[in-house]
């Protein structure tokens, strides 16, 4: 447990991926194999059996520390984590213990079915033998998640580094079905419980942003134009009767999207498709905010399935009849793709359409309508191009439409973190709603260091109120905020939320009276909402 406690501490203290990976590698080098299994399980969202409700933990902590319940709540809201609040409130431990992580998990497991008195004795004894940090982890084992900024990818990279095995293979192994109570570490990372050959994805081919005039690309007849969809890039692999969905982050996300599982019966073996995971209804793409309801979930409710149905828009085919097709020209790959997917009449798997235009002007005009179908612009792919590994200049270009913009006034400022910890760098912006100002976005980036210093000195001089780290400032500075989309939102007072807002520029030429109104944004929302 002490070693695991130290690992958690190291992971929490660093924001650098390399440090985190080093800490993980160090842990995997020295920890007990049985503990390693559990660390992998916990970090990938597999929970041990939990025989005790967290409400009981809180109740027992209140009882033995004689803390009034309201004071417990005050403490909790300052600390922000139940397990940690309890760990800090308890008096110092009187004994020590050297139980390993897996031993604690097994002991907790053994409590299943026991009466509350036995459980309580076990917990109080445990608390009395663990240091604050260990106690926090112990409580987490019973009641929480280990959200400490370790992605599956990072975990896999650390395991690959430590074991010298291939990372894609390890990813498949740990994303597969396995039981932490039964499997051994060697079995797990060698993937003995899964057939890793079946899942193998290809590196994605990526595009650079178009920076020259389209005319310089030559004859439009040499190019294939497609809509650029705003979702999660994905690869679907079907081999030997098994189906796998990989995301661009090189994570296996098969379980997250049951709508696509029918492909196991439809696709022939030895096929790999490249495409975009999107929220789709009646073959129409919905907004990214709808898709977001479905991302990074360990379980999916029926309501989520209904509210945000998923579809896959297919761009390309990388493997066909078990042959690597990436060296074939795009025009050939497209033909095969059209035969394979074009014939399907499925609402969830759709061949991403090719845009036929005779001239660049015509295409440029059509590009302006991208937003009306929830696309973020156009992709240009040379018809003769191979499917490259990674980003390569010349054959594929993304030609995105310009972002939306709004002029808003700054009303709150907060100090940044890291390099900017001593400057007010995180701002909240508002637009006018009649006589009032209503907040519409928070943005961090987009100003130069010199501008940040200027804004900082304005905030220091014009702070009206202080709420913890936040300052309310005189609504005076106007900024042009760029954003990618707009959606209805019950969580925000304005009733809408902007997607990916950032500061485009500081409008020193504008006064607060000249900013946009909430009505302007509502109209924009109405115009995009029709398509959802």
């Amino acid at each position: 447990m002490k070693r695991f406690a130290k690992l958690i501490q190291q992971l929490e203290l660093s924001n650098k991926t390399n440090d985190k990976i080093a800490a993980l590698v160090d842990y995997f080098n020295y920890a007990d194999d049985k503990d390693k299994i559990w660390v992998i399980a916990l970090f990938t969202g597999k929970k041990p059996r939990r025989p005790i409700k967290s409400a009981l933990l809180k109740y027992w902590a209140i009882e033995i520390t004689q803390t009034p319940e309201w004071l417990f709540s005050e403490s909790y809201s300052n600390v922000g984590d139940l397990s940690e609040t309890i760990a800090l409130l308890l008096p110092p431990a009187e004994h020590t213990s050297d139980f390993q992580l897996h031993k604690w998990i097994e002991n907790l497991h053994d409590l299943e079915g026991k009466d509350d008195e036995t459980k309580k004795n076990f917990i109080l004894n445990a608390w009395n033998t663990l240091e604050t940090q260990e106690r926090f982890i112990f409580n987490k084992l019973i009641s929480g998640n280990f959200r400490i900024g370790v992605s599956n990818k990072m975990l896999v990279n650390a395991l690959a580094k430590q074991s010298s095995l291939d990372s894609a293979q390890i990813m498949h192994s740990i994303m597969g079905k396995w039981n932490p109570y039964e499997i051994t570490f060697t079995e797990l990372i060698n993937g003995l419980h899964v057939n890793t050959d079946n899942s193998w994805p290809y590196p994605f081919c990526l595009a650079y942003a178009l920076e020259q005039e389209t005319e310089k690309l030559g004859d439009i007849a040499d190019w294939q134009a497609e809509w650029k969809w705003d979702g999660i890039r994905g690869q679907i692999v079907k081999r030997n009767g098994e189906l796998f969905i990989w995301s661009r982050g090189e994570e296996l996300v098969t379980e997250q999207f049951p709508e696509l599982h029918f492909l196991i019966d439809v696709l022939p073996d030895g096929v790999v498709l490249d495409g975009e995971i999107l929220a789709v209804q009646d073959k129409q793409v919905l907004s990214f905010s709808t898709l977001q309801q479905r991302l990074n979930r360990k379980t999916i409710s029926k309501k989520q399935l209904e509210d945000a149905p998923i579809g896959f828009f297919v761009y390309d085919i990388l493997e066909y009849e078990t042959n690597d097709f990436r060296e074939q020209p795009l025009s050939e790959r497209r033909k095969i793709l059209e035969q394979l997917i074009g014939g399907l009449d499925e609402s969830a798997v759709i061949l991403s359409p090719v845009i036929n235009c005779k001239t660049w002007e015509e295409l440029a005009e059509l590009r302006q309508t991208s937003r009306s179908i929830n696309s973020e612009g156009i992709m240009l792919k040379r018809l003769s191009s191979h499917y490259h590994s990674g980003r390569k200049r010349g054959d594929w270009w993304k030609w995105k439409i310009n972002p939306y913009t709004v002029d808003a006034v700054m009303i709150y400022a907060q100090k940044g973190s890291g390099r900017r910890a001593n400057f007010f760098t995180d701002y909240t912006f508002a637009v006018r709603d009649g006589e009032n100002l209503v907040t519409i976005a928070k943005a961090y980036s987009g100003l130069t260091d010199k501008e940040i210093k200027e804004v900082n000195s304005f905030v220091t001089k014009n702070a009206i109120e202080k709420f913890g780290p936040v300052r309310t400032v005189k609504p005076e500075l106007v900024f042009e905020i760029a954003f990618e989309g707009i959606a209805e939102s019950k969580r925000h007072k304005a009733g809408l939320a902007l997607r990916f807002p950032r500061i485009l520029r500081w409008r020193k030429d504008k006064k607060a009276a000249e900013i946009n109104t909430l009505e302007d944004l509502r109209q924009l929302l109405a115009s995009t909402f029709i398509n959802d």
Partner: protein, 351 residues
């Protein structure tokens, strides 16, 4: 009639016609200690502890009109007896005891109950009413003994040195810095930033026994720093100067480091929960020891702490003050020094 009232300018004693730690200029300011949220520029006359005098003269202005008292000594002003008792917060920090016609009120400023090895130890004073801070007035804030925390810091430094990392501790230049110096001295040399070195000089000249430290100058090599401990004020935290050290790792020493969320927010490499303010237990012990019938709770978790006292049968009231903003103020004070150091060091390079 109460001995003190809370006015726009600060805590006011009407009977004696003076203020304690006022935030707007007044004629007569009794000063608990040298942190900038408790002592400001512009008062006609200051009364503070003997050790605080050179500190505020250095930090505010040499021209201040300052009168001093030692702990236990008193003067009478308009019939009100004013005396000082150790607050244990930083060097020279005092609780101000006021007595008038048998009525006693103690204004404690900032305080801590643990012996930090450098400030005179907090001394509870019997009184009728007590003004207490509540910076860490929640039961999740309970400090470990400072020896344990210093052992952690030492072992962190001892791990860093063989790994070629430079250990940089972030600490307020007045108070925390001297406490670190006093308790970490001995194993490896301690290098301090200009603003800390300047204050150390003042403090040593006033007769305080402080271990030897080395002032960082443009001539100090990265190699020397890597083999020692570097102490800098918060304003230097994200400076280019630190980034240019050999594999710098930063450690923040503050009571807030007790909680994970605060540690993460600060994005330092290490956080050590070391505070110059009383923890929950310290606050409760101090208040109980005064026997006060009425407790005024200032800066910190005022609402929660005051409610708890009332529930415990100790009459209490929250009071709004402008105390507790030393973070911001210190940054401003230090920023000038920090920039000087930067330019000095950069100039050196270009030569």
């Amino acid at each position: 009639m109460a001995l003190i009232e809370f006015t726009k300018r600060g805590i006011y004693c009407k009977q004696g016609d003076f203020y304690v730690d006022p935030w707007w200029p007044v004629d007569y300011a009794v000063t608990t200690h040298g942190h900038s949220d408790h002592v400001r520029f512009g008062n006609k006359h200051y009364l503070c502890h003997t050790l605080t005098k050179p500190i505020i003269k250095r930090r505010i202005s040499e021209d201040l009109d300052v009168e001093t008292l030692n702990y236990g000594e008193s003067i009478v002003r308009n019939g009100v007896n004013i005396s000082f008792y150790p607050a244990g917060h930083i060097i020279g920090s005092a609780q101000v005891r006021l007595e008038y016609k048998g009525e006693i009120c103690v204004i404690s400023g900032d305080y801590k109950t643990e012996d930090d090895g450098i400030s005179d130890v907090f001394e509870p004073v019997k009184c009728h009413s007590f003004v207490s801070e509540s910076t860490f007035g929640l039961p999740v804030y309970k400090w470990q003994k400072q020896d344990i925390v210093f052992d952690k810091i030492k072992s962190w430094v001892n791990d860093n040195i063989p790994q070629q990392k430079t250990s940089v501790l972030i600490a307020y230049s007045l108070g925390k810095a001297q406490r670190l110096i006093k308790n970490l001295a001995g194993d490896v040399p301690i290098y301090v930033h200009n603003s800390i070195a300047n204050l150390n000089e003042v403090i040593i000249n006033a007769g305080v026994n402080l271990p030897e430290t080395i002032r960082i100058t443009p001539e100090t090599t990265k190699d020397e720093l890597q083999k020692g401990i570097v102490i800098v004020p918060p304003a230097m935290r994200d400076s280019r100067w630190i980034k240019n050290l050999s594999h710098p790792v930063t450690g923040i020493c503050s009571g807030w480091m007790q909680v994970r969320a605060h540690r993460r927010w600060q994005s330092a490499d290490a956080g050590f929960a070391l505070s110059d303010h009383a923890d929950w237990t310290g606050l409760m012990d101090a208040i109980t020891a005064t026997g006060a019938e009425k407790v005024y709770v200032t800066h910190g978790f005022t609402a929660a702490f005051s409610r708890f006292l009332n529930d415990e049968g100790i009459e209490s009231e929250e009071v709004m003050t402008k105390f507790g903003q030393e973070d911001d103020e210190e940054n401003k004070v230090d920023l000038a020094d920090a920039e000087n150091t930067n330019t000095e060091i950069e100039n050196q390079k270009s030569v």
